[in-house]
């Protein structure tokens, strides 16, 4: 996924929440997805490739 794609998906989720399109049941799942996207974007902006690789390694453990 590219940063652009992530941002667009995040845009979509926020819009869905704001227009009330999102049912209460889906709220939790979409919130989780949004948090994942935000983490991805933040990593892209502030972490080098090496640091990201390290993070992924740590997550697997």
């Amino acid at each position: 996924m590219t940063y652009e794609q992530a941002i667009l998906q995040l845009d979509d989720i926020v819009r869905q929440i704001e227009t009330g399109e999102l049912g209460i049941d889906q709220l939790t799942a979409q919130l989780k997805r949004a948090q994942e996207l935000i983490t991805f974007c933040r990593n892209t902006l502030y972490k080098t490739d090496e640091e990201i690789q390290q993070l992924l390694q740590d997550e697997k453990k």
Binding site: Y3, E18, L45
Partner: protein, 419 residues
């Protein structure tokens, strides 16, 4: 006819030139090489090319050539004067207008000694050359191509065209690496020569190298530091401009000049004054992206909070309405039940009353029909000897015994006669 020595012949040429060309002459020419020696004297090779306008054909179409000299004392004055006026370094590749005297030396041959220079010619020539290149690119429809490329959301992977020793390169990298927001940039230097003739071929080669791996890069920056006078003429070429205009990634130039821009600046996506400004531009793009991310994050949080509050409110309202609704419903149902009860009661009563009534009538009828009532009325019932009631006189004979039942008892009698 006499035979001369070489010296003699050369002397005659010397004299002829002194006599025939005694004045100072203004001349236009292109400087194909400029060399300043240790003593400060400037040696120039002047050329005139066949079609001097659009193309930078190396070595081709030359129709005149000559050497020129500027003696140190004169050069010390002319060079700063020229460079300050034009903002262009006094170097090979530019066209100049010189005031010269013609000298012929028996040993060293023909040379022109430069007394003065008119910088406005060079300015005009440079401007003309740029105009021509830009017009050609406009005709070809390529002039806006790089400018129309959208700047990517993240200007994070930066391909740098510069010289490792160029002023500005080190500072540029340092600026990116130590930006106040902590953004991570990835850079790679694609080296090229940043002044003189070699600019065009080396920069184009660097561009080709970047194009070969373009998916690895977001933007290209072409940077070099500069001073008041920089040797920028190398950047004013058609080939370089055409290459940049059609390059698939956005190009940012920061080639450090104070005055008017080169052709390159006119065709690339973004042109800034210095390498520092270029670094600032890239960082600003990242700041914009980071801000958008933060806005989305905030919108997410406030959106979800608002949504949950709406649901809580809904639940709250329902909870409050529940007791009243229940009570109302209960009352309604109870009432309905009560009504039914009453109807039932009323109905049953009616039924019982009607039945009772009928029963009473039957009872009365029955009562009215009983023998005791008849007897009490004064009638009698007659029974024959077998105990059957006698209803008609016809079956009776004289002598038959009869029992007559009265209300208050019976008598026995005999038939005497009937009539």
């Amino acid at each position: 006819m006499e035979t001369l020595t070489l010296f003699e012949l050369n002397s005659r040429v010397h004299e002829a030139i002194e006599v025939g060309l005694p004045d100072e002459y203004w001349v236009h020419a292109e400087m194909s090489s400029v060399h300043v020696n240790a003593a400060g004297h400037c040696y120039i090779e002047l050329v005139q090319k066949q079609d001097s306008s659009l193309f930078n054909e190396i070595g081709g179409g030359m129709i005149a050539k000559a050497r020129a000299t500027i003696w140190a004392a004169r050069f010390r004055m002319l060079r700063p004067y020229f460079e300050q006026t034009t903002g262009q370094a006094f170097a090979a590749g530019i066209s100049v207008q010189l005031l010269v005297t013609v000298e012929f030396h028996e040993l060293y041959g023909l040379s022109y000694v430069v007394e003065d220079i008119d910088p406005t010619y060079t300015l005009g020539d440079m401007a003309r050359r740029r105009r021509e290149i830009l017009m050609r690119l406009e005709e070809e429809g390529t002039i806006d191509l790089n400018k129309e490329l959208p700047m990517p959301l993240l200007t994070q992977r930066v391909a740098i065209i510069s010289s490792e020793t160029a002023a500005g390169y080190g500072d540029f990298c340092h600026q990116l690496a130590s930006n106040a927001w902590g953004f991570v940039f990835r850079t790679k230097l694609f080296p090229a020569v940043m002044q003189g003739d070699a600019v065009e071929p080396t920069v184009i080669a660097a561009l080709d190298a970047i194009a070969a791996e373009q998916e690895l890069w977001d933007v290209v920056v072409i940077i070099r530091g500069g001073g008041a006078a920089s040797d920028l003429v190398g950047f004013d070429t058609y080939e370089l401009a055409a290459n940049c205009a059609q390059f698939p990634l956005p190009i940012i130039t920061g080639i450090g000049h104070e005055r008017d821009s080169t052709v390159l600046d006119a065709v690339v996506n973004t042109s800034v004054k210095t390498p520092t400004a270029a670094a600032e531009f890239l960082i600003a793009q990242m700041v914009a992206a980071a801000e958008r991310l933060e806005q989305l994050t905030e919108a997410l949080v406030s959106g979800i909070t608002a949504r949950i509050n709406v649901e809580r409110q809904r639940l709250q309202t329902l909870t409050l309405r529940l007791p009243a609704a229940y009570a109302l419903r209960k009352a309604t149902e109870t009432h309905a039940l009560t009504l039914r009860e009453e109807r039932l009661r009323t109905g049953i009563n009616s039924l019982l009353t009607a039945r009772r009534h009928r029963l009473e009538i039957v009872e009365k009828v029955l009562a009215g029909a009983s023998p005791e009532v008849i007897l009490r009325r004064g009638y009698t019932i007659t029974y024959d000897a077998d105990g059957h009631a006698v209803r008609s006189a016809a079956g009776l004979h004289e002598g038959d015994t009869l029992v007559t039942r009265f209300a208050d008892g019976k008598t026995h009698s005999q038939v005497i006669s009937h009539s």
